[in-house]
Every structure is written in structure tokens, then in C-alpha cells.
Amino acid sequence: MNDDYLWDKSGEPDPQIQQLEQILGTLRYQPKPLALPQRRNYFPLLAIAASLLLALLAGGIWLRVRSRNEAPPQQARVETPTPKPTEAPKPPELRSALNPPLSAPKRIHKPRSASSVLPAREREEALMAKQQLMLALRLTTEKLHLVHTRTQPNQIKNQHRVG
């Protein structure tokens, strides 16, 4: 059987196939427009996100500035390293002056924090100046004490005389 008509609709038409085409043609695809999904426009979402981000940043900066202005002034914390037990070299004449036979009250001078921050050379100079100042103060104290002891017996004598 020649099936050219069935194959490519060429040749002599087959009446049975033509009848089938006519009947089944009622079920043929009817063109309908395809509704493709709309393109998503992300600009409004991005704009909202950017606005929220800017608002959050501005709020954070404002809160930080506000908290700084309201907070009490605080001293800067300076960490003081433990002083080394090394003693500065003392001149012999100063050492004797610093340890007089008089029973002067011993004071424990803690090194200032600032001095520990200074370099070693400047710290030595500062210690020397401090020792000289202490020597001068001790000499002055002894002079005053001598004056005091010399003037004190007269007062007692006078009191006995009065009494």
C-alpha cells in the first residue's frame, strides 16, 4: 500500500485518512497567547532596603554621640608597670646626708607613675633632683629643730619662776 499521503500528504490522497483528518481536526490545537511571568522589578525592594539601612546607621550614630555627651568625664586609664627594684646610684656625700644620725621618720616614697614612664636617663636626673631637695629640707628641719631646742629651756625657766 502506498502511504505517501500518510507520510507527507503527497501522492494520491487516502479517503479514509482524509476523513480521519477531518474528524480529528476538531481537536487540533487552538492558538492561545502564552502568559509569561512578569519580570520582577527589584528596584523598589532595593530602595526600601537601602532606606532602612541608612536609617539604622543614622540611628546608631545618633545614639553613640548622645551617649558620649551624657557620660561623665573619665580619666584616661594609664597602666603602670611594676617598678623595678633597681636603685639609682647615689653619691657618697648624699647618701650620708640622706641617712643622718637623727632619727628622722622614714618615709616610703613610692615612685610616681609618671616617672616610671620617663626614660631611664631622665628618671635618674629626676631622682638626683629629688634627693637634693630632700637634703635641703632635712637641713632646714635640723636648723629649725636646733633653734627650737635653744629657745625652749628659757621658757621653762620662766615658767618656774612664775609658778
Binding site: 500518510l6 507520510w7 480521519l20 474528524i23 480529528l24 481537536l27 487540533r28 492561545k32 502564552l34 509569561l36
Partner: protein
């Protein structure tokens, strides 16, 4: 089943290109769509909607066919970037349509079987519906080829080019399917 074996005798896009000029056109359209031209997909839709309609009509109830055609093309539009060979758009969307038909029947079994109302809608065009039911009772390879030829009005070379089957396979399927259909129609009056 030899019918299934015939289905597997697919032609290469180059072979299809020798048969018609369509692959070149679909390559242009697919590339245009991938580059953002949405109108290009309308061209693909106009060209391949009858193929998808015929494939579905051979497998699922008529009332479901139109919606499934739309779903399949929307799915294809979203997944077009996964198409490796731009010249193979036809076989690709034909495979999607066949898979979607299988999914439809699987879901129908999970929920409810095709009820009388669904079948009843096919009884309006009683004559056409009866013949379509006969075609659906044929082996899968025959029914699809016959629907594309007798319902959608495509020629054998067009069917081969758009489905990716070889021309020889399509010709054999048409011949054997028509022979079986004639035998079935012998029981019907008027034909």
C-alpha cells in the same frame, strides 16, 4: 516492546537539520531568549505548541491539555538555560511534555481517578472522542505519532524534525499505527 524501541531511535540535531531548516530557526530563537528577548520565546511557543498539545492529547484527558501546555511552556521558559544543545529544543520540550503526562497520571492515582465528569467532557465531540480513545489504546509510540499526524496535521518529516525521532522511525510508526487503527476502526460504523 518494539514500539518503545522505536521511540529510542532518535536522530541527532544535525540529522534533523538536514531534514528541515527548523533547527536553525530554533537555535536563533533559543539564543535570543537566553539573551533576554522574551519575544523569542513566543516564537518557540507558536512553533512547538502543536507538538506539545499533540503529545499531551495522546496521554491525558482533553480538559487538562490546554492548562498543561501552558504549564509546560512556562516551565521550559524558566529552565531554558539548562538546555545544552540549542538545536534540541523540540526533543527537549517533547520530553518535558511526556514526563508531565506521566506525573499527571501518577497524581491522579494518588488523589482520585479520572471521574465521569472529566471523561464526559470528552464526549461532546463524540465521534472525534471515540477515535481519539481508539488511538490512545494503541502502543505509545504509535499513538503519539498518529495524533501529531491526524489531529495536529503535521507531516512525517515535521514530526521527525520536532520530536528528534529519525524519519525512518516516524514512518514506521505511522505505518504500523495506521494499520492497527484501521483494524480498530473496522468495528465502528461509518468508517
Amino acid at each position: 516492546m518494539y514500539a518503545t524501541a522505536d521511540m529510542l531511535l532518535t536522530s541527532t540535531p544535525a540529522h534533523a537539520a538536514e531534514q528541515t531548516q527548523e533547527p536553525a530557526i530554533e537555535v536563533v530563537l533559543v539564543r535570543a531568549v537566553l539573551q533576554g528577548d522574551r519575544e523569542g520565546f513566543s516564537g518557540l511557543y507558536d512553533r512547538y505548541a502543536p507538538l506539545v498539545h499533540g503529545i499531551l492529547l495522546a496521554r491525558v484527558p482533553r480538559a487538562e491539555v490546554d492548562d498543561l501546555v501552558q504549564d509546560i511552556f512556562l516551565h521550559a521558559f524558566k529552565k531554558l538555560h539548562t538546555l545544552r544543545d540549542e538545536a534540541a529544543f523540540g526533543p527537549w520540550i517533547a520530553m518535558i511534555a511526556r514526563n508531565r503526562a506521566v506525573d499527571f497520571h501518577r497524581r491522579s492515582k494518588e488523589t482520585v481517578e479520572i471521574n465521569d465528569d472529566l471523561r464526559g467532557s470528552e464526549q461532546h465531540d463524540s465521534r472525534a472522542a471515540e477515535i481519539l480513545e481508539l488511538i490512545r489504546s494503541l502502543p505509545e509510540a504509535y499513538r503519539e505519532t498518529l495524533v501529531l499526524r491526524l489531529v495536529e496535521g503535521m507531516t512525517g518529516p515535521e514530526i521527525a524534525a520536532r520530536t528528534g525521532l529519525t524519519a525512518a522511525s516516524v514512518r514506521v510508526n505511522l505505518h504500523r499505527g495506521m494499520k492497527l487503527l484501521r483494524e480498530q476502526l473496522g468495528y465502528m460504523e461509518g468508517l
